[in-house]
């Protein structure tokens, strides 16, 4: 019985088949791409994978938990800086990775407690997250004096922190990963985050989170404390963003306060909006598509990428507020239904509420 309802549930969110095929695809790309692509090509697609993880963090927090976080880049930046500071101080990435995930989570826990337990409305949550990420940017940006150091690491303000060592094999700092290794690590991270979110969404916790997004009052009247669930979802999202930050540093080998900038947060939101709100595949797709678009426009040079991004954002809000993935899903659904009808099993008239309701 349980497996039956689980299957039903999976169907509702795109089906177990879709989960497995996405995983399979990610694995295929992960191991296949290095065979075909040069080191530099790999470097370019690594950032797409990093951005996909970042997009998943936004997609979970916004699309599933309904929290309008406009400052997700704040957690990305915290994770990035935490990794940089830790890995240089310890000379080993083994501890630096968990630190880069946990620090943003702790920060999000404090911030989330402040917001969700303070009865702050959805729109204000947007403004507060945005403001906090601006505060973080300004603070980090003004730490260029040599007095601002953690351990041996000078934070460097606007300069950022250069020459950050990459990940190494666990417990063995003498064996750092090369470009291909970082690609595997990043794709592994993406696969892990995707599966983890899938698992969370299937769990009771995840289902309640989605229910709260659907109707907070109802969830309260049933006895769930929306504040707690939102807080936890927000913290999980921050951890994922932190991981994305850690991998971002590994990709760039360098970190500057730019990661905290509003454009980063804006990008995450656009990824999710374009890909599809309330899906997991959507943010990944959106990240790859938009990041690729930004690179293309950026290289071409005559038009500022912002112009294109702005138009995309407005167009999707106005025309396709649900994003690409749900749009495609609906199209497939419709195609299937049409097929069904053509095959000759007409739906009973009163079975379709759309038909009976509309007169």
């Amino acid at each position: 019985m349980t497996s039956h309802s689980l299957g039903r549930f999976l169907d509702q969110y795109g089906g177990a088949g879709s989960f497995l095929s996405v995983c399979l695809l990610l694995i295929l790309v992960m191991f296949g791409l290095p065979l075909f692509v040069s080191t530099f090509g790999l470097l370019q697609v690594t950032i797409l994978a990093v951005m996909s993880i970042f997009a998943l963090s936004q997609g979970f927090v916004w699309g599933f938990a309904g929290i309008m976080s406009f400052g997700q880049a704040g957690f990305l930046g915290l994770g990035a800086y935490a990794y940089a500071v830790a890995v240089i101080n310890y000379g080993d990435s083994t501890l630096a990775v968990p630190i880069s995930i946990i620090l943003p989570m702790l920060f999000a826990a404090v911030m989330g407690y402040f917001m969700f337990y303070g009865r702050i409305s959805d729109a204000y949550v947007g403004v507060i997250t945005l403001t906090v990420s601006v505060i973080l940017f300004q603070l980090i940006n003004s730490t260029s004096g040599s007095q601002y150091r953690i351990g041996v690491v000078e934070l460097g303000g606007f300069n950022g922190i250069p020459a950050i060592p990459p990940l190494n094999l666990i417990g063995d700092p003498s064996r750092p990963l090369d470009q291909t290794g970082i690609w595997y690590a990043t794709m592994g991270g993406l696969l892990l985050v995707y599966s983890l979110l899938r698992f969370i969404l299937m769990s009771r916790f995840g289902r309640v989170v989605v229910a709260i997004r659907e109707n907070e009052t109802r969830a309260q009247l049933i006895g769930y404390d929306p504040r707690l669930f939102k807080l936890l979802a927000f913290v999980i999202g921050a951890g994922i963003a932190g991981l994305a930050g850690c991998l971002y540093v590994n990709w760039a080998g360098y970190i500057s306060p730019g990661v905290f900038a509003l454009t980063m947060s804006a990008q995450a939101i656009i990824f999710v909006l374009v890909g599809g709100l309330g899906t997991l595949l959507g943010p990944i797709l959106g990240a790859v598509l938009i990041q690729w678009l930004i690179n293309t426009i950026g290289d071409q040079g005559t038009v500022d990428p912002g112009l294109g991004l702005g138009i995309i954002l407005v167009a999707f809000v106005l025309l396709f507020p649900k994003g690409i993935v749900p749009l495609v899903q609906a199209a497939i659904q419709q195609a299937l239904t049409l097929r069904k009808r053509n095959v000759g099993s007409p739906l009973p008239v009163d079975a379709d509420p759309l038909q009976s309701g509309a007169e």
């Binding site: 019985m1 349980t2 309802s5 039903r8 549930f9 509702q12 009771r204 289902r207 309640v208 989605v210 229910a211 659907e214 109707n215 009052t217 109802r218 969830a219 309260q220 009247l221 049933i222 006895g223 769930y224 404390d225 929306p226 509420p353 759309l354 009976s356 309701g357």
Partner: protein, 250 residues
């Protein structure tokens, strides 16, 4: 499980005890110093014309509104002004006037969420099947609730309330928008529920009230006008007057 020591105190405390409860919105007093006591496994009906304060009173019982004054006790504990989820955890469930559901989720998922609050996933899944069966919702269980017809949504909301297994169930107009047959089913269901749980019903349909009620409380202009056995209440001249507006020509 037998308790060797009898618990007389439990008998003495009423399940729900509202004292002097008042709610003001600006210059408007929606609920005006109301006292209401409900015993364990009691069935109570609240009636009264539109705007008499019944729904507002319900909202205070569930924590959606913080009373401007007075006290509400559930099993002896003050719940006035507590968080809705806190009150729900203490065992109060409500079906609101307008169906209030997780519209994007299936009926099954809606009921599951309600059941899973206290139970393990496996147990909750079993409860879902039971409850859906009991309310004849199995056929539409996997449809998105937001796309169901009004009456069906009423039933789904009833199902979620049942799945919560609360000790006190508040039903705000459970029969509204239902067919005659459905109304009868609802009445039977309420009586059945009432064997184990206390129920408060707000309803306008007097046939329905007659069908289920024992004690009826009549609200008028935020106050309790009468509280008595259903037959006496419905025969009461004052009650008739508030419904017909006769007081004005008197």
């Amino acid at each position: 499980m037998t308790n060797p020591i009898p618990a007389p105190a439990k008998k003495l405390t009423p399940l729900l005890e509202a004292r002097d409860v008042t709610m003001k919105f600006g210059g408007v007093t929606a609920v005006d110093h109301v006292d209401l006591v409900l015993n364990e496994v009691e069935l109570r009906c609240l009636i009264g014309p539109n705007g008499a304060g019944k729904s507002t009173f319900f909202k205070m019982l569930t924590g959606q509104l913080r009373p401007s004054g007075g006290s509400i006790r559930f099993r002896g504990n003050e719940i006035g002004g507590a968080h809705p989820h806190d009150i729900a955890r203490r065992g109060v469930g409500i079906k609101t006037q307008v169906p209030n559901l997780f519209d994007g989720l299936s009926a099954r998922e809606n009921v599951f969420i309600a059941a899973a609050r206290r139970k393990s996933v496996a147990r909750a899944t079993a409860i879902v099947v039971e409850v859906l069966e009991r309310l004849h919702l199995t056929d539409i269980a996997d449809r998105e609730v937001g796309r169901l017809a009004h009456g069906q949504r009423q039933w789904v909301e009833l199902a979620t309330v049942l799945a919560q297994e609360p000790e006190l169930i508040l039903l705000d107009e459970p029969a509204a928008g239902m067919t005659k047959a459905e109304v009868e089913q609802t009445a039977q269901l309420i009586l059945e529920i009432n064997r184990t749980q206390a129920v408060v019903v707000v309803e306008h349909d007097m046939q329905f009230i007659r069908r289920i009620a024992k004690v009826v409380t009549v609200f008028n202009q935020g106050k309790i006008l009468v509280e008595d056995h259903v037959d006496r209440v419905l025969a009461d001249e004052r009650v008739r007057n508030v419904y017909l507006g006769n007081s004005i020509s008197a």
